[in-house]
């Protein structure tokens, strides 16, 4: 009896895996590093950044990572019972806003089904079931710009940041809602500083942001980062 049930379980697993056409997690790791890692961390030591950490995402209810400020829509989906699995991650990664309309994940999506399958296979490695989170070193978290540690260490003046931020809030909603322009409320200061310097050095392409960042001093960027990090909704 014991032996039979094991066999049945194994057969089911093989069948399910085959039907889902598990992707290539090595290739998924490369895509993750290119497309996802500027906002998300995964692996041992991962923490929340612009996006939540992604360890253990499989079989987790949407919007549940402790300490991360989700959009209202994401929380609502979680409350309504959205649990992450292969199918809905595939839909979400194809076009995030199609599944969760006001998600803060400002990502246009992976249009190639193979890319999605590979990334999902990679994500799966870091979920408890069926595998434990490996004890391997964390994925290298790449930085977009080489910043002098002194720049990252500047303590921003949040009062100045509040004034400077009024210029950002013409487009970026204070509430953190994203209706076509990404939310920046609650971003970790370091991510904010790196993103602004990436615009300033024209490594990120957006012309409005290049212009806005281009005339901000290092102290002003630090002030803005300090303000947005602590801004409550």
């Amino acid at each position: 009896m014991y032996r039979i049930s094991l066999f049945v379980a194994a057969a089911c697993f093989v069948q399910a895996a085959a039907a889902r056409d598990l992707g290539d997690e090595k290739r998924g790791a490369e895509i993750f590093a290119r497309k996802c890692a500027s906002c998300h961390q995964i692996g041992a030591g991962a923490v929340n950044r612009v996006g939540p950490l992604l360890n253990g995402i499989f079989d987790r209810k949407a919007g549940q990572v402790e300490g991360f400020r989700y959009s209202k829509d994401m929380l609502r989906q979680g409350a309504d019972g959205l649990v992450w699995n292969f199918e809905n991650l595939d839909v979400y990664l194809e076009n995030p806003k199609a599944l969760i309309s006001r998600t803060r994940m400002n990502f246009r999506g992976l249009k190639d089904p193979r890319d999605r399958a590979d990334v999902i296979a990679y994500l799966r490695r870091f979920s408890a079931n069926p595998q434990d989170i490996p004890e391997a070193a964390p994925t290298a978290f790449p930085q977009e710009v080489e910043l002098d540690p002194e720049i990252l260490a500047i303590e921003g003046d949040p009062e100045y940041g509040e004034y400077l931020a009024s210029e950002c809030l013409t487009c970026h909603q204070r509430s953190g809602d994203d209706e076509g322009i990404p939310a920046i409320t609650g971003w970790p200061a370091e991510d904010f500083v790196i993103a602004m310097h990436a615009y300033k050095e024209k490594k990120r392409p957006h012309p409005v942001m290049q212009m806005m960042a281009g005339r901000l001093s290092n102290e002003e960027i630090a002030a803005l980062a300090a303000y947005f990090e602590t801004l409550e909704e």
Partner: protein
């Protein structure tokens, strides 16, 4: 440093409780009256109330109970937005920010006594006055047209019933009929506005009346985003739009609302819809206040948008003459925050940081074909001066144009939240 709504209400309640009963209305607090509830005035009132944390008595005077934004009103004409989506009320400014919202017309300003008189008869005293009244039209600038002809030939350049009227007229045009737009001379509100409007009307006609024609009569030899619009018109509406600049009489236009005719350099043409956008000046209350120049605009200095004629008055947005910034909702919103900071500094002694200004204007040419132009500015002794800028390029990919349009939708949500709370 941050102030969320709960804390703000808490502060307001504590302040109220500290006053002895019967409650005295804001006695001893500095008073700011803001005239005009658009992108300049509503933003300025909100930032004064929010950052003043209850220490400034803010009154906002705006005649309309529901404000329809000029920006995105062209998208309503094109069928990309419904009318209600561009309408906004002042309830949050009153309830969440404690602003005294008065729906009335300001009809008089006594600069010596520092009072504003309202059409309803009330008088409002002020320590600082903010004028953000937008534009009015210069009478006689288009021969044959005056405000009594605005039903036959709408301007639709102050959004609301005029915009609805123009849309209805476009939809009722006879098959193969002619839509005419008389463009204004510089300077005027929303430099790309008339040309986005032409694009939106073309979009509607292409779908329902494809043999119709559009005639643009323009006193200017060139206009905002000209190459981008002309490329877009050729791509989407080939042969439908005829633009007549001053070389061919676009600057010598007379209209006859009774017979629906336009006369271009002596030649009479019959049209079916005629959108006349006259030459402009500052909203009339600025002239009543006596702070306008011979061109009809209110000159301001660049560090805090203070009137050059009265240090207790700040002028924002379209009605101001400040230097290099275009007359746009984005500019007015940007100027409002600098002015609010300067006013708080003067009234409360709070820190005043260097003025920074910016502007971006998005326009829609056709479905998912958005373009933009923008710049950043700094304050100099002479004027608000341009620092850096950008503009969309001809021949951009469809993906980029779509992203630009989507960005404009996000901006609309952002700026209206920044104005109305």
């Amino acid at each position: 440093m941050t102030l969320n709504r709960r804390k703000f209400l808490g502060t307001a309640a504590a302040t109220a409780a500290a006053l002895s009963a019967p409650m005295v209305r804001a006695q001893g607090k500095p008073r700011v009256v803001v005239i005009g509830g658009g992108a300049g005035g509503a933003t300025c009132a909100r930032y004064l109330a929010k950052d003043g944390k209850g220490a400034i008595d803010v009154t906002l005077v705006e005649p309309t109970r529901k404000y329809y934004t000029c920006f995105f009103s062209n998208l309503y004409l094109g069928g990309f937005r419904d009318f209600e989506s561009i309408g906004h009320t002042y309830g949050k400014l009153a309830a969440d920010y404690g602003i005294n919202v008065v729906h009335d017309w300001a009809v008089g300003i006594d600069r010596d006594a520092r009072t504003v008189t309202l059409a309803g008869g009330y008088t409002l005293p002020y320590d600082k006055l903010v004028l953000s009244p937008g534009i009015d039209f210069i009478e006689g600038s288009v021969p044959g047209w005056d405000i009594s002809a605005q039903n036959e030939m709408p301007h639709a350049y102050k959004a609301g019933s005029q915009t609805q009227l123009l849309k209805a007229q476009v939809e009722a045009m006879p098959e193969g009929g002619t839509f005419c737009l008389v463009a204004p001379p510089n300077p005027f509100r929303c430099p790309p506005g008339p040309y986005e409007r032409v694009s939106m009307v073309a979009h509607v006609l292409k779908a329902g009346n494809p043999t119709a024609k559009i005639l643009v009569l323009d006193p200017k030899p060139k206009f905002s985003k000209m190459a981008l619009f002309q490329e877009g018109w050729a791509n989407h509406y080939d042969g439908m739009i005829e633009w007549i600049g001053p070389d061919f009489g676009g600057d010598k236009v007379e209209v006859r609302p009774d017979t629906m005719e336009v006369v271009v350099d002596g030649e009479v043409t019959k049209v079916d819809v005629c959108n006349v956008i006259p030459a402009q000046r500052a909203g009339k209350i600025a002239a009543i206040a006596g702070i306008t120049n011979d061109k009809g605009w209110a000159p301001v200095e660049a560090f805090g948008m203070q009137s050059k004629m009265d240090e207790n008055i700040h002028v924002l947005g379209d009605s101001s003459q400040q230097g290099d910034m275009p007359k746009s909702g984005f500019s007015a919103n940007s100027q409002a925050k600098v002015a609010a900071m300067a006013i708080r500094g003067a009234l409360l002694g709070s820190k005043v940081f260097p003025a920074k200004y910016s502007n971006t204007c998005w326009s829609l040419i056709d479905t998912d074909d958005g373009i933009k132009v923008g710049a950043s500015y700094e304050a100099t002794e002479e004027k608000i001066a341009k620092v850096d800028g950008f503009i969309s390029k001809t021949g951009e990919s469809a993906d980029l144009r779509k992203a630009t349009y989507e960005e404009s939708v996000g901006w609309y949500a952002g700026i209206t939240a920044d104005m109305f709370g």
